[in-house]
Symmetry: D2
Subunit: 133 residues, 4 copies
């Protein structure tokens, strides 16, 4: 599991008084940075062998401005060229949102998926969260 602390921004709140739902995909994308670094060590967008195929977010609580949020990121499933990433957002000891992202190792030039290389796969496997955990 990777963890990251994020401070909600004032501009991320909405008129209902808490963090707007559309902010979670942004925070979860940020939570995937350690995975991005495995595939693109320089984090150079000109050399970016990943695309995103799907996201899901379940909103199970509210998130407020003024208190840190812990973003937890882990691997749920590892396919040949695709991977399903899991995310959670915690504030004040409570789970506020859960998410998933399906990413594909991808060659933008040939527009085709590529197998996840063995060394990256073994790194990712160390962050696998098994069902029920």
């Amino acid at each position: 599991m990777w963890t990251e602390i994020c401070q909600p921004r004032f501009s991320e709140t909405d008129a209902l008084g808490h963090v707007n739902n559309t902010v979670l995909p942004v925070w979860f994308e940020t939570g995937r940075t350690p995975i991005f670094k495995l595939f693109a060590p320089e984090l150079d967008p000109n050399n970016w062998p990943l695309i995103i195929a799907r996201i899901e977010v379940d909103y199970v609580g509210e998130l407020f401005y003024g208190k840190p949020v812990e973003i937890r990121t882990f691997v749920l499933k590892l396919g040949n060229s695709s991977m399903t990433i899991g995310h959670e957002a915690w504030q004040d000891g409570e789970l506020a949102a859960r998410g998933k992202a399906v990413m594909i190792h991808y060659d933008h030039n040939s527009k085709s998926s590529m197998p996840v290389p063995a060394e990256i796969r073994s790194e990712l496997e160390q962050h696998l969260r098994l069902a029920g955990e």
Copy 2:
């Protein structure tokens, strides 16, 4: 089905050259405005009887700056107090993203769900898209 035309903003693109994936939940939320108006005719955030429980987005193509995007919104499922909304983003005649949002008719004071009123329900039913359509 409700439709809305949206012009991608320059700030919504990312370094990969097309619209960033985190923008779709924002556009789809905007696509739900006609539904918001059914529950909150004045669109007054102080009188907002809805919460969002879940979103999903499937990215099936790229979206580019400089060309209009059509956001199509429809009802997939109507529960007692919850509803599942469907979304699609089309550009240049091609489907680029599909989404879902689960919303709940909700009383923020009592913190409990409320049945969807009959007159709103019958409005929503006119926008139901059946499986296979």
Copy 3:
């Protein structure tokens, strides 16, 4: 003057109940689209001969969700390679924000400014707003 109607998005409000201040630079950038089209008719980011040097925003009123906003855009000053663009955001007949943006006609390859071509200059001059207007 160019005008554009924009509907505030729910995600653009903040916990104070109105549109967050950081949204105005985004709307004003969108208001510059007709100017972008003069310099980049295809609106292709790979062929984008402009950079932004400065922005200013004065907040003179509040902007609310649920009512359209009119973005007015005009030319304040035309230099050899630079131009100062003016912006206003109106809602319900009241001016809520004023802005400026300084842009430069720019060659990203040679990293140097370029004179504004005569035919674009004469187009821009038709949108000049003189002091006191």
Copy 4:
């Protein structure tokens, strides 16, 4: 001076390959958090005695994804009820953007400005940057 390290988000880049200009006002607002805490120690938006009157940003360089940005925040001018805050964004040892924000100590109920209290004033004075510094 207050400093904060911020990691550019992928969604904050644009199709020109670097951080979009509209992101700077967001980062600079975040840089004002220590000032917000002086006026609203709980950072509770329901008890928020500040409004923003003006922002300025000068873009003097590019900001890239993948490298931390240091946001420096300081006080440029202290009026009776208003204050002018200065901001800078540095990456890789180079200044990329400079900004200002004018904020007013404000009572949202009476809709009138309030003098900055003495104890907050003396805190702010410790972060004054004199002209030429």
